[in-house]
């Protein structure tokens, strides 16, 4: 108890930010986690899918194998759903006197940052896997020995989404609300 110093806002911007409810930040974080992840997955799927369908006109044998690229993009959306559900279970109700307490503010900021991390990591991962998947389909149509080799590159790309999920979940463990007294 002694030695604990809580410094409030020192400037007008800080005072304004302290009036924003932590639930606002949490809600935006959860929305970004799922919304931007799904954006990345959809972007990747349409890039891969259009190349795949076009290349399959002359080489119909590539269709069933190259659906793996579409599945890798879809996995990015599933990571977003999982993290959004985990973040939303971290929300707790606190008594109205405690909503603007420093601990609740910190919990709100942690959920916000966690959602941002997951959303944007999955966005770039989905884009990366989509573009590599489209190249994979096009080169597989020309030479079928290339499929497995280009798939190795796609696996490196899909690891980026996993990094986002790992950091998002580690950061969401910081979201501890004050206990109800």
């Amino acid at each position: 108890m002694s030695g604990a110093i809580v410094i409030g806002a020192s400037g007008s911007w800080a005072r304004a930010m302290l009036k924003i409810s932590p639930y606002t930040f949490s809600a935006i974080g959860i929305a970004v986690a799922i919304g931007v992840s799904v954006l990345g997955a959809a972007w990747g799927i349409y890039i891969t899918g259009s190349s795949l369908i076009g290349a399959a006109i002359k080489a119909p044998r590539i269709t069933s194998k190259n659906l793996i690229s579409v599945i890798f993009c879809e996995a990015v959306a599933i990571y977003g759903v999982i993290v959004a559900i985990i973040l939303q279970t971290k929300l707790e109700s606190v008594p109205s006197l405690q909503i603007y307490a420093p601990e609740s503010l910190r919990a709100g900021y942690a959920i916000f940052a966690s959602g941002l991390i997951v959303g944007f990591a999955n966005l770039v991962c989905g884009l990366c896997v989509g573009i590599i998947g489209s190249s994979c389909a096009l080169s597989d149509a020309q030479n079928s020995t290339l499929f497995v080799k280009i798939l190795v590159i796609e696996i490196f790309g899909s690891a980026l989404g996993l990094f986002g999920v790992i950091v998002g979940i580690i950061m969401s463990a910081q979201a501890t609300w004050p206990s109800k007294v």
Binding site: A4, P102, A110, F120, V124, L146, I153, G164, I170
Partner: protein, 138 residues
């Protein structure tokens, strides 16, 4: 009660944003590097499939950038604990700047790896092809 929280109230915002910047920008760099060099490898591999496995090196190097961002983001986010150690605005800004440093450096490194990897693998394919020309044409 805020009796155990010690430090500035707005500081964790900047700290967590630093961790987000570290991972977010590094992943953007890693994705750009992987994409650009991967497309180069795929188009080169159509003509010379035996060189593809050697040309995956830029992709691996770009993937490592994502790991750097992951490490820094985890270090930052486990360092924000106002109950155990006071967390002032100074600490928040320090975490923000370290996250931005790691992230933006990773972004630029990833873009460099992508552009150089793409150019490198396409020249690599062409170089070996020209060397094997029968009439000694260089």
């Amino acid at each position: 009660m805020s009796s155990t929280f010690s430090g500035d109230e707005t500081a964790p915002f900047f700290g967590f944003l630093g961790a987000a910047a570290a991972l977010g920008f590094s992943c953007m760099g890693a994705a750009y590097g992987t994409t650009k060099s991967g497309v180069g490898v795929a188009s080169m591999g159509v003509m010379r499939p035996e060189l593809v496995m050697k040309s995956i090196v830029p992709v691996v190097m770009a993937g490592v950038l994502g790991i750097y961002g992951l490490i820094i983001a985890v270090i930052i986010s486990t360092g924000i604990n106002p109950k155990a150690k006071s967390y002032y605005l100074f600490d928040g800004y320090a975490h923000l700047s370290s996250g931005l440093a790691c992230g933006l450096a990773g972004l630029s490194a990833g873009m460099a790896i992508g552009i150089v990897g793409d150019a490198g693998v396409s020249r690599f394919g062409k170089f070996v092809e020209i060397q094997f020309d029968k009439h000694g044409r260089i």
